[in-house]
């Protein structure tokens, strides 16, 4: 069968089971979109308003489904617009494949129209990137791209295809031959043996106050059930990183909630006073550990990771375990369950964790509580970055994996709306809620055009404090309340903005208005933007100042509300 390059790309995607693509057409990918035109029944394409939104949508799709998110963009600015999205996916280890068009081979290197060397630009923010040099490489490069994106520690891959290769033809060997091709280098994830599991089990047997810190790696490896089994059988409290939200049910009495800079007092105090800490699939970033030399200073730390480069990177640990987390936990469970039960730690956990409470005034906590009461556990929550993100991670309560979609590593403001579109497309039967700060929302609110075009029924709640709240909070706490360029931004009427896109907008300033709005939204099942007006002096507490130890917690009650 003779196919051209663009036909091979689409045939490969179909063979790989891809049925959803996000993207934006342009000159260098016209042949690809031409073939896509004939395959709309098999591959549904969502055209976003900007390529950054397309990558975030592919990322949100990947995070919420566990499948590879795919994105098409054109050369030049189309490709450069993917950079923030790729870096976001890279820092959070998400499997995204971006297929970018490139100018035709004879034009490469001549500063041609819409020509950039995108593979050079994305070298350090992708797990892999390459430009296809001849059409006979195309199918193997694509197969390898998906394999690399999903295997071991997942990550984004960019494949750059010159336009002339999309129109050249070649004999296509067919699906079976395609499937038989293997990567010449297989990524190993390590596999801790029984000896290592025995060593860790012995440490638990000797411990008095063990704690587990669950990161995003637990979700990637599908280890959440094994973790639940271990923690509940042995009565071990579990804290989570931001990316580990939902890895262990936060409503469970053994959950300590979020650890780190904005973590709960319970999580940080347990970690600070534990004698044994088992870290599962977390890179132990500065936001989690604070001062590395003070983190869990009196504890033996076991670090279980499938990527050996993460072990000892930010914190030297006593017991490194390079292994797939699920495999390791299953071994450990066989050794520990029914042999070790720790004293009941629940009472003190309940005392110290942030719980959602109602409030007569519209506040971040009352807003979150009312939304949680309305939707329960069924919703996928997608956030932007900033105060609303931390309030959500602290207090919303995630009991299931892939229920909180958020940019943890890169902290990308403007991530949420695109990601929410991707999450809803990937999970049509689940409610998708998009939580945004007004600052984040303004960064990529153009994607309301995508929401409107495809009538994607997501609800955006803007936590509108008319300020860049998190930076403002840092200025208050650490820069003597010198609010440089963060305050008093009331330039956009979000209701009129939503209306311009044909989307219902609702402004709420009181709890009762929110109540009425939520009733209407739940009934109507259409895209909605809810502008929730909040006080700009609402801050995220507790907070541990950057570079400080986990015990140096600042509570809201310690801060003057003047100034």
């Amino acid at each position: 069968m003779v196919l051209n390059g663009a036909q091979i790309v689409i045939a490969c995607l179909e063979d790989l089971g891809v049925d959803t693509v996000f993207g934006f057409p342009g000159g260098a990918v016209i042949p690809l979109y031409d073939v896509l035109y004939d395959h709309q029944g098999n591959i549904k394409h969502y055209r976003t308003c900007h390529e950054q939104g397309a990558v975030h949508a592919a990322d949100g799709y990947a995070r919420s489904t566990g499948k590879v998110g795919v994105c098409f963009v054109t050369s030049g600015p189309g490709a450069t617009n993917t950079i923030t999205g790729l870096a976001t996916a890279y820092l959070d280890s998400q499997p995204v494949v971006v297929i970018s068009g490139q100018v035709a081979t004879p034009l490469i290197g001549k500063d041609s129209f819409q020509e950039v060397d995108i593979t050079s630009m994305t070298l350090t923010i992708t797990k892999h990137c390459e430009m296809v040099r001849s059409i006979d490489q195309l199918e193997s490069v694509l197969f390898r791209a998906f394999d690399i994106a999903m295997s071991g520690r997942p990550g984004p891959v960019l494949i750059d295809i010159p336009k002339d290769l999309m129109t050249q033809t070649i004999s296509f060997n067919g699906i079976e031959a395609f499937k038989q091709r293997k990567r010449d280098k297989t990524e190993t994830t390590g596999d801790a043996n029984d000896l290592m599991a025995n060593r860790v089990a012995q440490l638990f047997e000797c411990a008095n106050h063990p704690v587990i810190l669950a990161g995003g790696g637990v979700i990637h490896s599908g280890a959440h059930e094994a973790l639940y089994e271990l923690a509940t059988a042995c009565n071990i409290p579990v804290a989570n990183t931001l990316m580990g939200s939902g890895a262990f049910p936060q409503s469970h009495p053994l959950s300590l909630g979020l650890a780190g800079m904005h973590g709960s007092r319970a999580a940080n105090q347990y970690l600070a006073s534990a004698d044994l800490v088992m870290v599962l699939g977390a890179r132990l970033s500065d936001r989690v550990i604070g001062a590395p030399d003070q983190f869990c200073g009196s504890a033996t730390i076991i670090h279980v990771e499938n990527d050996e480069n993460e072990i000892h990177k930010n914190k030297q640990v006593q017991v490194p375990v390079r292994s797939d987390i699920k495999t390791f936990l299953k071994r450990l469970n066989r050794l520990l369950i029914n042999r070790v039960i720790f004293k009941d730690p629940e009472g003190s956990i309940k005392q110290k964790i942030t719980r959602l409470e109602g409030d007569a005034m519209l506040s971040p906590m009352s807003l979150l509580k009312m939304i949680k009461d309305t939707y329960g556990d069924e919703a996928i929550v997608v956030t932007e970055v900033g105060q609303h993100q931390m309030w959500t991670a602290q207090a919303y309560g995630f009991d299931h994996v892939r229920s909180l979609i958020t940019s943890g590593g890169l902290g990308t403001m403007g991530f949420g709306l695109g990601a929410a579109i991707g999450a809803k497309v990937g999970n049509p039967h689940r409610t998708v809620l998009h939580f945004a700060g007004d600052g984040s929302f303004k960064m990529n609110c153009n994607e309301l055009g995508t929401v409107s075009k495809y009538q994607v029924p997501i609800t955006t709640f803007i936590f509108n404090n008319k300020a860049l709240g998190m930076v403002r909070q840092w200025q208050k706490l650490f820069n003597h309340s010198r609010y440089s360029e963060t305050d008093g931004d009331d330039s956009v009427d979000f209701i009129k903005l939503a209306d311009a896109y044909g989307i219902k907008g609702i402004r709420v300033t009181t709890v009762s208005e929110l109540e009425t709005a939520l009733e209407w939204i739940k009934k109507e099942k259409q895209p909605v933007v809810v502008d929730c007006v909040l006080d700009h002096d609402e801050n995220v507490f507790p907070i541990i100042p950057p570079g400080k130890g986990l015990s140096e917690i600042i509570e809201g009650s310690m801060i003057s509300h003047e100034s």
């Binding site: 350090t124 990137c129 390898r144 280098k185 990524e187 050996e308």
Partner: protein, 79 residues
């Protein structure tokens, strides 16, 4: 103290760029870089000498080892 690693990899400029960019991002300081084709195969040998600044030589080896088009990497001793 300087230490030198030697990687066998695909003979493509992108691979050289990826390896050096990754190490630069991690904070390594290069003293010497030499890439030459292997006379017996289509691959190439890359020798990189690193100064003792940066996050540790062993981590450089494991970082490079993860690059898809790098097939093997070792330290050269007794140059």
């Amino acid at each position: 103290m300087e230490r030198t690693l030697r990687a066998y990899m695909e003979n493509e400029p992108e691979v050289l760029m990826r390896v050096t960019a990754l190490l630069k991002r991690k904070g390594y300081v290069f003293k010497r870089i030499l890439m030459e084709p292997d006379v017996h195969s289509k691959g190439a040998w890359l020798n990189i000498t690193l100064s003792d600044e940066g996050p540790g030589f062993e981590r450089a080896l494991t970082t490079i080892e993860k690059v898809v088009d790098v097939h093997s990497v070792n330290e050269i001793v007794n140059q």
